[in-house]
Amino acid sequence: MAGISTGKTDLSIIIGGPAGYGIAQAGALFSKACTRSGYFVFVNNEYPSLIRGGHNTVRMRVQDTPSLGISDSLDIVLALDKNGVLEHLEELSERAIIVYDSDEVKEEDANKAKGHLLVPLPLITLAREVGGEKIMKNTVGLGALCAITGLGLNELNRLIKESFGEKKAEISELNIRAALLGYETALGKFSGLDGKPKFSLGKIDLPEKRMLVSGNEAIALGAMRAGCRLLCAYPMTPASAIMHYYAANEKEAGVVMKHVEDEISGITMAIGGAYAGARTMVSTSGGGFSLQTEGLGLAAITETPLVVIEVQRPGPATGLPTRTGQADLHFVINAHQDEFPRVVLAPGDANEAFALAFDAFNWAERFQIPAIVLSDKYLAESQFTEAPFSHKHLKIDRGLIVDSEWIEKNKPFRRYLASTENGVSPRVLPGTPGGIHREPSDEKDEFGNIDESPHARKLQVEKRARKFEAIRREIPAPNVYGKSEGAEVSFVGWGSTKGALIEAIGRLREKGVEACAIHFTHVWPFPDKAEGMLRAQKKLVLVEANSTAQLGKLIMQETGIRIKDKILRYDGRPLSAGDVFEGFSKISSKGGKI
């Protein structure tokens, strides 16, 4: 099942081997060499939850048009051990080339990929030949990749020098020699390549430089652009890279990353900081968010703005710590007892991750509510090739924070003033003269005095409900990709499946099927405008990375529309364009046509 390219170049490369073999570093160097040569690279890492051993892969899709996600097939395999070959036999494209370390992979194992071009290279021997250690075999392999793809060694050499710096000039030199030897051996007589590159990744001149940025980094950058100087977080895969990015840039950005003692401390410390007037955030995965649900309610009842990043991974309890899924949608919408307004945003790619992380702070402060950005491992840890995010147009809106002058004019100060049309009350920061008041976690009167009377309870419930309605009026409609008018099928999805949906409708069009995608980035409050859009479609098909079609249930709950046809993937692996394409061919009455 060869991938269908939308541009001229569409090459999928995988480097595979056990943890501890420098797979991720090799991938980082090669993908950056490609972006600097003018290509769009989409990088996806798959690894089990362990430090040594197992099977790790870095999968790179190199295109000359913007990447939408992983492809379903592989064109080049660089296998650093036996599993590097055996684990991927089902995914090989017709033109696939398998480069393997003949020092470690037996010929009989490599032969399982018979029918494809096999390139045995003694990577360990070659690494030792230049005076390096066994571990440097990944660099030898990279040299071979640069040969086969036609990328050449210039960018790789520059990157090796950059990553080791002048202080480690010797190691840098050693790696450059190792890459050269890998390059030359791959193009040598006996390698099976006949002395020629098999692909032509020549340099493309770019009008601007592009970043290789992960979803997690995009979220951190969006938060920083929003002025978030305090991140309180506890490590949890796959959200940890957000705290790492904050920590690594503490001095340069002037931010504080507080590694807290537990998840509960993370959310409550963020609430304390926000109460004092800072823009704060907490980042975690579903398990951590389970612990944080009590904090969510504290933010809700005290009406403290709070931004939570929830990066989904599959499974209850520990589940699949390093894999992906979209099964926390209902959880984040409903977490905590009672009823209160919140916003749930679900970015579909790095650009949206940046933009929605920024927006989350405005939602949180304008409505004094928790705003949740719901990401997942696939989005969070994949790397996207993007121009630096445009952000000059972004405006920070802190909502109704009042000063002593305002308070003087509006005496007595009611922190929980309930008569406002949108339910939002004036907020005052500690230190402000004249604004002293109490913020209890109990139900209270408009001044913040604990009040259990039916009247006070009703007043505050209705005030919070009006906030929800005011937010709902502002929630934008889902985005439509492709033409919805006349579409034979309209896919409906949310979050990280965006790229797969867009690529799939392109493929269907090539097969003569007009398709469109309705993609939700704002999932809660459910957008008012969605119902009309959905009702106007001829055939709806849900696409989600969970087993119960959670968006489908939400649509049913909010609009009464029941979508029968579903394409669901819940094996912990990313949902691809191929899943959508093949899923549709199964459920379509026009199956024969595709």
Partner: protein, 283 residues
């Protein structure tokens, strides 16, 4: 600066005779004595009878969740180091459900003051055993007597890195207020464990009992001697008496002192963070 009267909000709904009245009044007196402007003072509180303290005090305050007053207070202090931050909690709140936060707040020596209303019983939930209840204590949840030995908050604090560790008694308001004043003045994490008789549910550790066993640390006692402090921390009951006063004190930079980005409080910094430079590094 405020007077005692101006610091009073509403009439507390604690039981008549509750030790919490003395704690509230001692805290007010300390705020007055230290000439702290109430607008620059934040009280955070947990859940329980002690958790209601902010309701009766006319300063900025945020009442939080059971056991979570310390991380909220830490967040307040990290965001705005110019504020005086005091935490009010009980023994169940701080030494039970919140004991993890208690230890870590002390490790980081964040500059806040923690007042624990220690009545050795869960009062607001109508009288169950608490982490500081004595072994054998009979309560609604332990009709056959508590099996566990009590937490020793003083020893725990000394070992966990708190830099001001004191015990006070709600039956001696002036002494208590003096201890709170010193605790607030102290740079770093201060614990004041306050013996506070619950007149409704604790029939064992009563005012009468405390009057007999409590004694003030003598003037020659050196709170800088950690070993001596740990020995003093072991004293409890009729045999040894219960020492009140500053048991341990040391000097160490506060958490915020060690973070250059906090030199100017976050709330006084602009929201403009230059991300262009950061994005350039990803190219």
């Amino acid at each position: 600066m405020a007077t005692l009267g101006e610091l009073s909000a509403r009439v507390p709904d604690w039981c008549p005779g509750c030790g919490n009245f003395a704690i509230l009044n001692a805290l007010k007196k300390s705020i007055v004595d230290l000439k702290i402007d109430p607008k620059d003072f934040v009280l955070t509180a947990g859940i329980g009878c002690s958790g209601k303290t902010p309701q009766w005090l006319n300063t900025y305050s945020i009442h939080t969740l059971h056991g979570r007053a310390l991380p909220v207070a830490t967040g307040v202090k990290l965001a705005n180091g110019d504020l005086t931050v005091v935490v009010s909690g009980g023994d169940g709140d701080g030494y039970g459900i919140g004991i993890g936060h208690f230890i870590h707040a002390m490790r980081r020596n964040i500059d806040i003051t923690y007042l624990v209303h220690d009545n050795q019983v869960y009062g607001l939930t109508t009288g169950q055993t608490s982490p500081t209840s004595e072994k054998g204590y009979v309560s609604k949840s332990t009709p056959a007597g508590v099996i566990e030995v009590p937490v020793n908050p003083i020893a725990l604090a000394i070992e966990s890195g708190a830099t001001y560790v004191a015990r006070a008694y709600a039956g001696d308001l002036m002494h208590l207020s003096g201890i709170i004043t010193e605790a607030i003045k102290h740079k770093g994490f201060s614990l004041v464990d306050i013996l506070q008789p619950c007149v409704t549910f604790n029939r064992r550790n009563t005012y009468d009992w405390f009057q007999k066993v409590v004694y003030k640390l003598p003037s020659e006692y050196d709170p800088k001697d950690k070993q001596a402090a740990l020995l003093k921390a072991e004293e409890w009951g009729e045999k040894t008496g219960i020492p009140i006063g500053v048991l341990y004190r040391s000097e160490r930079p506060t958490y915020s002192d060690e973070v250059p980005q906090l030199k100017t409080p976050i709330v006084k910094q602009s929201l403009d963070i230059d991300i262009d430079r950061l994005m350039a590094k990803l190219v």
